[in-house]
Amino acid sequence: MSHDPQNEVSPRTVEQVYKPMNRRTFLKGAAASMIGVAGLMAALKPLLELESGAVTLDDLLQKHYRELTREDLQRIIISLAQKEQREYGVYPNLRDVKPLDGVEFGYALNLTRCIGCRKCANACLKENNQSREDAKDLEMSYIRVLELNKGAINLETSDPYYDPALVPQEGKYYMPVQCHQCRQSPCTKVCPVQATWQEQDGLVVVDYNWCIGCRYCMAACPYDARRFNYKKPTVAKDQINPNQSYLSNRIRPKGVVEKCTFCLHRTREGKYPACQEVCPTGARVFGNLLDPNSEISYVLNNKRVYILKEDVGTQPRFYYFFDK
């Protein structure tokens, strides 16, 4: 604090510093306040367009998924299903599918066989109830298929928007990339609210009711595997997949991050992921890493396996391999 004499002005009475209120100043002040309040209301006017139920007290009070009791979770699931019916016209078979004991999921993709037909990316979009109206919507697909030039694995010269009449093209090969369900997952490490975590079976999931939408996980992901709901998803009634679970493919609210969960609502119930089932060349091998007799264990033990961006240290549960 300065006690520089230059800065001392002569002391004044309180009345001199601020003039007492009289009728004139009071009216002026009142008029200014009215203008201020009107301005504030006008500024906030768009909030009137919020859909009813966009922000509810229940939502605000909801706890983190892992702190919910079974009854709480059941109540939330019913209210989510009802909301989906109100907004999208379908009452889904929404449930919480838990991980199985003794299971750790792994995925391997045969780069020799993949022909780049993108059937997997398409099936993924449908299975996971994503918007599919325009090109921007298609960016939401959890699977990006890259077209690479033969002779190297150079992502930088790859093209995810290839569009020839026929695939595969001469001199090219194809590499689908989706969430690698990393053992050392940078995305879960950076989340400030633990809205994303690794489950017991290795799947990295997001609690859409807890995510604050900061997108730090997207910045952390070395595989560009996470998507953000910049808008509210638009899915037509007849396009909705009603087989849904809380941590995977239920229709997401806007403003949260989502990602591939290896279709946990299918795989935890003994089915294959949608992308595996639809693959016409059998390039995709999915299974339990803990089972020594599974096909995935066979691939990892007997094929030439390649790990994408191994240098980043993520230790993925998603592998690429080659025939011969």
Binding site: M1, S2, D4, Q6, N7, V9, P11, V14, V17, Y18, G29, G39, L40, A42, A43, L44, K45, P46, L47, E49, V55, L60, H64, M140, L146, N154, L155, T157, S158, P160, V177, P186, K189, V190, P192, V193, A195, W210, I212, G213, C214, R215, Y216, M218, A219, A220, C221, P222, Y223, D224, F228, N229, Y230, K231, K232, G255, K309, V312, G313, T314
Partner: protein
């Protein structure tokens, strides 16, 4: 306690009294803030599709401004260190302004983070015991702690000193000196932690670089003092508070040294990226020369480099011994660093994507309005704090004015 309520009431009344110029300035800032609030309300309803961000470039102008401003807030330490460690008397008359700038700027930082959220109404998920705080794992949690801590420290120091002055009594050293020293360390920590937000991401080659925190601090100690030099001149012209030239020229020296270090580190970075071209240099290539025909940031970064070079040239030569030359240098450095450290740092982190895609980013009008609104709000907050603080600092607002002195 009653005294304190009276004090608050007086401060409140004082806020609405001023010259026509004061009213005009505050009205314009309020108007821009409200326009920004309107744009944000639109974004809250429609979602972040109102911004230019995409799945590929998932952070944009908000986080860019946030990053830059954390540096400006940290730079208040460049007034505190000379004043309290080197006991430079002339710095004591301005150190409070540095703390007030820090308060206003930290509030802006918090606003920039809030508007970036997809679900701002879930902000309490970060605050224990309501939420689940991912500490110490997430650097963002660290950032929440250090930013709010810095805000509290500065509110306490500035508030306590002003209140003592209002009561015309000597502040008790024990009540503020320990906090002043803590704030020095803390200021460095806010910007280091903010740098670690990016450096910690191993998948983003452009950010995963040990020079980033050092460059952050160096550039912050240019941009912050640049803002202060200009602000001090405005204060001494428009208010009844005299600031002599010494603090301004002390800051000039600090700026010069910091800018030399900043430019040196830039040179180190450019050498590493371009001497031997690796795949990691793709982002720098995009930034400086464009990549695969996309060159959106090239004019930005060269504008920044030119402004910074101009600023440095002015600072290092006698030109900036004159106040006009110094002001040119300050404006050039401030805009240059805002450009380089904002968009110039954040966007290349996402371009190309980890899978090699080049998707360019351009803020939308709505997004720009939100940013302008926050800048205007910060200026509004700072102007208001000055308007209340200056009558206290120059002695015209006292709890019990000694009127006998006035009549003599």
């Amino acid at each position: 306690m009653r005294d304190y309520v009276t004090f608050l009431f007086r401060a409140w009344r004082l806020s609405f009294q001023g010259s026509a110029r004061y009213y005009a300035w505050m009205s314009v800032l309020t108007l821009i803030s409200l326009l920004g609030l309107h744009a944000w309300a639109r974004q809250f309803v429609d979602g972040l599709q109102t911004t230019g961000m995409t799945n590929q470039v998932s952070w944009g102008a908000y986080i860019a401004n946030f990053t830059f401003l954390v540096g400006v807030a940290a730079a208040a330490v460049m007034l505190v260190i000379p004043a309290y460690i080197y006991k430079k008397e002339h710095m004591h008359e301005v150190v409070l302004f540095g703390e007030l700038i820090a308060i206003a700027v930290i509030v802006m930082c918090l606003l920039f983070v809030t508007v970036d959220l997809g679900h701002p109404e879930r902000f309490h998920h970060m605050i224990p015991p309501f939420g689940v705080f991912n500490f110490p794992g997430s650097i963002l949690s660290w950032d929440v702690i250090v930013l709010n801590g810095y805000l509290m420290l500065n509110l306490h120091i500035a508030g306590y000193l002003l209140y003592c002055r209002y009561h015309h009594r000597q502040p008790t050293r024990l009540f503020y000196i320990p906090f002043v020293f803590l704030s020095i360390v803390w200021a460095v920590s806010i910007h280091t932690v903010t740098a670690f937000l990016y450096v910690g991401l191993a998948g983003r080659g452009y950010w995963h670089h040990p020079l980033v925190p050092s460059r952050f601090l160096a550039s912050a100690f240019v941009a912050g003092p640049a803002l202060m030099i200009v602000t001090f001149q405005i204060i001494r012209r428009t208010t009844r508070y005299f600031i002599c030239d010494e603090p301004i020229f002390t800051l000039r020296m600090i700026m010069t040294v910091a800018m030399i270090i900043n430019m040196f580190l830039l040179g180190c970075e450019l050498f590493t990226e371009f001497y031997y071209p690796t795949a990691h240099a793709a982002a720098a290539h995009y930034l400086f020369f464009g990549l695969h025909g996309h060159a959106g940031l090239v004019p930005w970064i060269w504008a920044a480099v030119s402004l910074n070079t101009l600023g440095l040239a002015f600072l290092m030569t006698p030109v900036s011994r004159h106040i006009t030359g110094l002001n040119v240098a300050c404006v050039a450095c401030f805009i240059g660093i805002w450009t380089e450290k904002g968009m110039g740092l954040i966007i290349p982190g996402f371009v190309p994507t980890p899978l090699g895609q080049v998707v360019e980013y351009l803020p939308t009008l709505n997004e720009t309005m939100v940013c302008l609104g926050i800048w205007a709000f910060g200026a509004l907050l700072f102007s208001w704090m000055l308007h209340v603080a200056i009558p206290i600092m120059n002695g015209s607002l006292r709890a019990k004015p000694d009127l006998s002195a006035a009549t003599q």
